[in-house]
């Protein structure tokens, strides 16, 4: 990694230290709110500590239309070449663990992950598939982006009954740019953390589509460390009956003249559960920054639960723009009638709303996934 190092990382930890942390750390140190202490159902994700490793990965019923440069399955990596891409398998070793450990599951993941990948992007596209199995699956991917125009499409799938933990570290070097498209097809239990660091004049466009599962904890931390960096995240989150999503999207601005934005759209159907939250933080060293966080969650049915907590934190007096907005809402009163008046049936209107949310970050287009199939998968029809 560059001399700058990984923003947000603590000191590297040995396996012994990880084991010690895994035995004493709570799943999270600070409660999320007085009324709802833990947005993530850690009881479901705690299976990552004890489940046997899955024997093999399970491909999702929804096939992306891209050729992957790497397919990761439990303890098995299949690597393919790619133009403008260097691919190397990464295996757990005695090297110190560098991903930030904030809670018990981070430490457990640091100990248990077994399949990994290191990528260098020189302007190429590197689709990566992470197929979870019917047991525990743990993945770790490190990416260095060296040139503009690089693309990183990621699909992760965990079948019902499976539990997956995954970490992704990305450094976007000075002047480089990355389009990252992440499709998190829930179903099972998923703990997926992504950390992206941007250098001087570099940029990130992150698109995200998340489908609910037994518990999907999906977190992305973006650090604008250099000057003049730009990062925008657009996320579409859909959770229907019995499914749960806790989506955390953070952007931290430390450089001068940077722009960071997060825009999330969520849809809850039936008895689904969805949390859309995160922080847009402008730190003291930042100057003339723009920080935006929007989060809107629509709850279609009475039994659904939606939470939206976009936090804006400004620690400097010199900021160009800082705003956040949020709503948890029923569909606008006339929305269904409006769509029906344009010729759509009630079912199609509901479908269109789900499809719109899932397309919001541009992920289906990037991944060559049929939006209708994706919406059908999300709605379970």
């Amino acid at each position: 990694m560059s001399s700058r190092g990984w923003a947000g990382l603590g000191k590297p930890l040995s396996r012994e230290e990880l084991r010690e942390l895994a035995s004493r750390l709570p799943y999270q140190r600070v409660k999320d709110s007085p009324t709802h202490p833990y947005y993530t159902d850690w009881r479901v994700l705690s299976a990552a500590e004890s489940r046997e490793y899955a024997e093999r990965g399970v491909e999702p019923p929804l096939r992306p239309g891209l050729d992957p440069v790497a397919v990761l399955e439990p303890c098995k990596a299949t690597l393919n070449g790619g133009t403008g891409v260097e691919v190397e398998e990464l295996r757990p070793s005695g090297e110190p663990w560098r991903f930030p450990v904030e809670g018990r599951l981070d430490a457990v993941h640091g100990i248990r992950w077994c399949t990994g990948l290191r990528l260098v992007l020189d302007g190429g596209s590197a689709p990566v598939f992470l197929w979870g199995g019917n047991g525990y699956s743990g993945y770790h991917v490190e990416v260095r982006v060296k040139k503009p125009g690089s693309r990183l499409p990621i699909v992760t799938y965990t079948p019902v009954g499976g539990v997956t933990t995954a970490t992704l570290l990305v450094e976007v070097e000075d002047g480089a740019s990355l389009r990252m498209s992440t499709l998190n097809l829930g179903e099972g239990a998923v703990y997926f953390r992504r950390l992206v660091v941007l250098g001087n004049g570099s940029s990130l466009e992150s698109g995200l589509s998340v489908l609910g599962g037994s518990m999907v904890h999906d977190r992305e931390d973006v650090f604008l460390e250099g000057d003049g960096g730009k990062a925008s995240t657009r996320a579409g989150l859909v959770s229907v009956s019995g499914e749960k999503i806790d989506s955390i999207l953070n952007v931290v601005i430390n450089g001068k003249d940077c722009e960071g934005s997060v825009r999330a759209r969520g849809l809850v159907g039936g008895s689904g559960y969805l949390v859309s939250r995160g922080v847009a933080r402008v730190n003291e060293a930042a100057r003339n920054a723009s920080a935006v966080f929007e989060s809107y969650v629509t709850v279609l049915d009475e039994g659904g639960r939606g939470y939206s907590v976009p936090v804006l934190e400004v620690n400097t007096g010199d900021v160009r723009e800082a705003r956040h907005s949020t709503a948890v809402m029923a569909p606008p009163a006339d929305a269904a009638f409006y769509l029906r008046q344009r010729g759509l049936s009630e079912r199609e209107a509901r479908f269109l709303l789900a499809m719109a949310v899932l397309e919001y970050g541009g992920v289906p287009e990037d991944l060559g996934v049929d939006s209708v199939e994706l919406a059908a998968a999300a709605l379970g029809v």
């Binding site: 769509l339 709303l353 719109a356 209708v372």
Partner: protein, 255 residues
């Protein structure tokens, strides 16, 4: 539709909304190529008439009939009425977070062509037609990709509604206060389009509170609603009279 049958015939229509009698025996008709203006003060039942023709749930018809192209449409769902060619331009169109106008128009056109796909345009010209329609109403192509009515000004919403008329090409166009929120240039554009639609043989039911728009489009017929009843009906001179004297001239206590 038999010859001589109007495109839309509303006969002695009585409508309840949440147990309140809102329309009490309204009759009117719209022929092909005809512009019928429905005027009236606030709360007179104009929008209820529009919603009821379009089939909005919760608007209970307790008497009378609505016939479209000779067919009783009271038993039809809103989408069935839409696919038969009835378009309602909303007075206050709802914001649709995440739904792009381009996606909605593609699906809506597909439905009209009998194609179920929600992602692939059955008619590849739809997108171009949408862009040119947006430009026609004074909106940039960017609006095709924006979330529909999210963050739109009042005037932008009205322009976006009219653009949809141009894309979907309905036979009966119901416009509920299409001029509210529009500046004078916008009113002129909308009036121009209404006149063109009329020339193409479309039937237009224009619901308006003020006669401002009627300076630019001359209605063939005018019906004035007051308290859910037809207080007056006539030709363009009626709109002129209302502009000069106000609605009070039509009420028992007025003028």
């Amino acid at each position: 539709m038999s010859s001589g049958e109007p495109l839309l015939r509303v006969d002695r229509l009585k409508v309840k909304v949440e147990d309140k009698d809102v329309l009490r025996g309204v009759s009117l008709s719209v022929r092909e190529g005809e512009l019928h203006a429905v005027m009236g003060p606030n709360g007179s039942g104009k929008s209820t008439l529009a919603y009821t023709i379009a089939g909005k749930p919760g608007y209970s018809v307790v008497g009378g009939t609505i016939r479209y192209k000779g067919e009783d449409i009271l038993g039809l769902e809103p989408e069935e009425r839409a696919l038969k060619g009835i378009f309602l331009g909303f007075q206050e169109p709802p914001p649709l977070p995440g739904v792009r106008l381009s996606t909605l128009m593609m699906v809506a056109v597909n439905k009209r062509m009998g194609v179920e796909s929600l992602t692939k345009a059955a008619d590849p010209r739809v997108y171009q037609r949408l862009i040119s329609s947006l430009e026609r109403v004074g909106l940039s192509a960017e609006y095709a990709h924006r979330e529909l009515h999210v963050g739109f000004s009042g005037g932008e919403k009205k322009r976006a509604e009219i653009a949809q008329v141009l894309v979907l090409n309905p036979d009966l166009v119901i416009l509920d206060e299409p001029d509210s929120g529009l500046d004078i240039d916008g009113v002129r554009v909308v009036a121009e389009i209404i006149n063109e639609l009329r020339e193409k043989g479309k039937g237009i039911l224009l619901i308006t509170h003020y006669a401002r728009l009627l300076r630019f489009v001359v209605p063939d017929a005018v019906t004035v609603l007051v308290d859910g009843e037809v207080a007056a009906s006539g030709g363009p001179e009626l709109a002129q009279a209302i502009e000069e004297k106000g609605y009070s001239a039509l009420t028992p206590r007025g003028g």
